[in-house]
Symmetry: C2
Subunit: 215 residues, 2 copies
DNA sequence: CGGGATCTTGATGTTGATCAAATGCGGTGG
DNA sequence: CCACCGCATTTGATCAACATCAAGATCCCG
């Protein structure tokens, strides 16, 4: 078991306001906040008044049990949004995995925001429910295969895939230990299905075989 | 391993339109459809054009792996809503657990619907993400304890709790086998934490102890 | 009252967790 | 550019929790 002490490495610094493509329509452009690796973006229990769009970097959203067990419910990459909540209170923690730039978008209770947020919320809901199948019913190998394919797809099929997170993060996302994740990587490598160019750089060699594994 | 053949026991019959309290504001009242126990409400891949409000009964929403492994992502009870999707295609199956009456609410792409659907989607998202923690990081006993408390809470603290679903359903919701679910029930009973009045009628004796178990 | 389905209980097997140690990657400073 | 150091990762040995396989016991419903 591991302990996750809240790091609070540094407060985010705010940049001057910069025009960036990909911002949500209709929302007033917001300045970017920078978060160093490992720093907290928000904590469970905090008041929520905004959601966030990632300009660069990567974010983990997670929940803790009182004894320190951690479940990462989602990773978010550049271009993705996260942080919307049901009742204006954060139910999860969010941390920058690496140096990350985030645009906070204030919530207004108007119909426009609803209309824009709804598809994002629904997409997140589908993703979470699909991940339930992985955690509830798939083996370690199937979980890792599904994870790698998901990361590849979300990076636009970029090959090799760049994993922004550690093995510990992957384990806490897949409901596995770091050792099991490592063993599965090794097994996939030995079977020639992936190739590792550095710890966080994975080339998917046999896309189809991997897809078959994850069903 | 179990197989889940699609039942399609019967097509739902439609009642005459009846005024029922609890329908969503602003939506035109819709007739109720009746689904017998085990019948399909919608299937994965089907076109989605409505969402559903349960008048009475209970519904399971689930996904299957190709070899038949099943993960129930959510149970829905009377008064609850389900079936909204990100891209007008159903990504899951929904079945009536028992004889169930459902009000289908057609989707219009207007702002009003967005505003009403958003909180429901966000609530569902939070629930799904919390369930990820259960499936990824909790033991069998913790899972069952959390499940019982959740069911109790959703029935308004009604004691004893009425479980509309089988042990198999509970197992497929909690990522456990039917045998493990049964053994945990027995253990909780032997420790005096719950009392069973019939298979599907559970009295929670030690609420706090159960809460401590599930963290 | 009978019979099938559901649930419980028992014996054994397997997967992944845990405990422990070695390896090697990546960043730093010389 | 290279050597060193700390930490993440890998690898190995053992253990525990839950799954699987196999009977029984109950419930429920006609």
């Amino acid at each position: 078991m591991h302990a996750y002490t809240s790091s609070r490495i540094a407060l985010p610094s705010q940049s001057a306001q910069v025009g960036v493509p990909g911002a949500l329509d209709g929302a007033a452009p917001q300045p970017i906040s920078f978060y160093p690796a490992g720093s907290e973006i928000y904590a469970q229990g905090e008041k929520a008044g905004a959601f966030y769009q990632i300009e660069f970097g990567a974010v983990r959203v997670y929940r803790l049990l009182s004894d320190g067990r951690r479940q990462i419910s989602a990773f978010h990459l550049a271009g993705e949004t996260f942080g919307f909540e049901a009742d204006s209170t954060h139910h999860f923690f969010a941390e920058a995995i690496n140096a990350t730039g985030v645009r906070a978008i204030r919530l207004a209770a108007d119909a426009d925001v609803s209309r824009q947020l709804l598809p994002l919320a629904l997409k997140g809901l589908t993703r979470a429910q699909e991940h339930l199948l992985v955690l509830g019913r798939q083996t370690a190998v199937e979980r890792v295969a599904a994870f790698l394919l998901d990361m590849a797809e979300r990076q636009g099929g970029l090959d090799p895939v760049e994993l922004p997170m550690s093995r510990l993060d992957i384990g806490d996302y897949l409901g596995l230990t770091i050792e099991t994740v490592s063993r599965v990587f090794t097994k996939l490598k030995d079977k020639g299905m992936i190739r590792l160019h550095g710890l966080r750089n994975v080339e998917i060699v046999k896309h189809d075989t991997l897809r078959n594994i994850s069903e």
